[in-house]
Amino acid sequence: MADANSAGNPGERRAAYTLISPAWVTFSVLLAGPSLAVVVLSLTDWQLGAPTMNFIGVDNYAQLFADRVFWKSFGNTAVYCMVVVPGSVFLGLGLALLIEGATFGRAFYRAAYFLPVTSTLIAMAVVWEFLLHPSVGLVNVVLEQVGIRGGDWLKNPTRALFTLAGIGIWQSAGLNMVLFMAGLKAIPPDLYEAAEIDGAASAWERFRCVTWPMLGPATLFVTVVSGIRSFQVFDTVEVLTKGGPNKATEVLLYTMYTEAFNFFRTGYGAAITVVFLVVVLALTLLQVKAGEKRTHYS
């Protein structure tokens, strides 16, 4: 592009624009267009199917930020993220290290832990519903065998969000594991040998000297992707709790969904979506910035 412009040859310039046009068109129609439409919609009072639409400025946002339910929902989503991200990142890392260190059955364990990623979360949520049933669910039946009363996992307001977070960890640890395994494969074996000769006595020392710093880029990527994915939590909430009990599991996407598609307040829903997009964008920028500075060592 820059070359074609600076060359100033009209033929070359036309060719350049022609060649990038497919990318531009798809980008505009599929990504930029819808995002822009959401931003515009968030400034109107449009309701799904309504014949009229009024431009109301930032009223939606004013209402949103004054709404107790929105803040509850935002807070729940944040708590969910803060449990799921470290949980799934460290579980994924642990699994990757264990499987890489294993002498047999690697392919089996890799596939087993990756299964939750490939399965449909809606369907899996139904399975979890059975497992977590207060009286006949497998979880409580097992707990009873060792003398613990499991109680109700999904209807207890202090516990429901964490139950969902547990399912979230279960679901995304496999993907993180695979990403970490790719990162582990990329570490030159020479470094471990150098560390060994330099006196790294224990597995912990080798991890601290070589594995952990060399996994920097992978860890950053995994953390951000997990953050974005867990910020998008919706399926389990929709199937298992519907945001209840008493808004205890109300999360951002679920609030957006109910406002926009149950109450048809499309403009208001769009405003929530914009908040959501801003957070995701911030996470992505964080990755880019931090990635440039700290983890690639160049």
Binding site: E193, A194, A195, D198, V210, P213, Y297
Partner: protein
């Protein structure tokens, strides 16, 4: 510094026997090169001495200690890798200082932040910083101490790797093809620097390479290894002039030694003649092998004459001083004759026959 002894070392990977009963003594302060083509087992032997691989049988002694069962970190050896194996997230100073901090500080003292609060940490860090600075000065990389490895050139990385090896004054240095990632010019320069460093430190060094010019120029002795067996251990000059086996004669020297199959009443054998021990004579001269000149390579100070001889697969090669005489022309019929006393004789099994 210490002497190293390998006795009857064997090693197999699965069904492949990589080292077949290797015995080798390296004197204290000696520069010994393990020379051989890739896959001959030279790196495996080095890694066994380092403790990165275990020998199946035999023994390794460093100084007065038998070290076979000791882990690498307790053998008091330092290694320089072909890839340098620098820690990319650490500065040059941290890279060089790591072997010291691993040994002089405990787990808690090494923790970032918290470690500084513990007794002894400050003194230990000061001592390490001083030793690192000394090593860096010896290698002329003092100004680079705060850089990361990615900001260094190949030659500078090489020096950092050497610094990390010498900073703790190990009993021996093990170098695994340390120069092969450098460009040709730098490689030649590092060759002399490395020998000089070795002499200055009085260090015992085992140097692994497939490059015979490195082996010949740097070593006190060269151990030629072919297919898992030590063929000959000798000073470079002896290795070239007085090879024990045909394999060594063929492996050492470029261009390759001329080999003629000979047969007589007591059985077959080989005569081998170095290219510079061949003289060009008239085709009908007594004792001459006759052939046609296939190619003449002019190398400035000398010329290489390749001669196709009927019945031989490879051309014979003669090395002529450029000033000595007129160079033969391509296609010309000439005779080649070994200089008196310069024929190396080998029996059918490739063993040297003297006299």
């Amino acid at each position: 510094m210490a002497a190293i002894a390998c006795e009857n070392v064997r090693k197999s990977f699965g069904a492949v026997e990589v080292l077949k009963d290797v015995s080798l003594d390296i004197a204290d302060g000696e520069f010994l090169t393990l020379l051989g083509p890739s896959g001959c087992g030279k790196s495996t032997l080095l890694r066994i001495v380092a403790g990165l691989e275990r020998n199946d049988s035999g023994s390794i002694t460093i100084g007065a200690r038998r070290v076979d069962t000791l882990p690498a970190r307790d053998r008091d050896v330092a290694m320089v890798f072909q890839s340098y194996a620098l820690y990319p997230h650490m500065t040059v100073a941290e890279n060089i200082g790591l072997p010291l901090s691993m040994r002089r500080m405990n787990v808690w003292q090494r923790l970032p932040g918290l470690g500084a609060l513990l007794p002894g940490t400050r003194t230990a860090r000061k001592g390490i910083a001083k030793d690192v600075a000394d090593a860096a000065d010896a290698l002329d990389i003092g100004p680079l101490l705060q850089r990361k490895p990615s900001q260094l050139s190949g030659g500078q990385k090489q020096r950092v790797a050497l610094g990390r090896a010498m900073v703790r004054h190990p009993a021996a240095f093990l170098l695994d093809e340390p120069l092969s990632n450098l460009d040709a010019k730098l490689r030649v320069q590092m060759r002399s620097e490395l020998t000089e460093l070795q002499r200055r430190l009085g260090a015992t060094m085992i140097y692994v390479t497939h490059d015979q010019s490195e082996a010949m120029t740097m070593s006190d002795r060269v151990a030629v290894m072919l297919a898992g067996k030590l063929q000959q251990v000798a000073p470079p000059r002896r290795l070239y002039d007085d090879p024990e086996t045909l394999a060594v004669a063929e492996f050492v020297g470029s261009p390759k030694i001329n080999v003629l199959v000979v047969g007589n009443e007591r059985g077959g054998g080989f005569h081998a003649v170095r290219p510079e021990a061949m003289e060009v004579v008239a085709p009908d001269a007594p004792g001459a092998t006759t052939g046609r000149v296939r190619l003449v390579e002019h190398l400035g100070s000398e010329s290489l004459v390749h001669v196709d001889v009927p019945g031989l697969d490879l051309p014979l090669i003669a090395r002529l001083e450029a000033m000595s005489a007129r160079d033969p022309r391509r296609g010309e019929a000439i005779g080649l004759r070994p200089l008196p006393g310069r024929v190396l004789k080998f029996d059918a099994a490739g063993r040297r026959v003297r006299g």
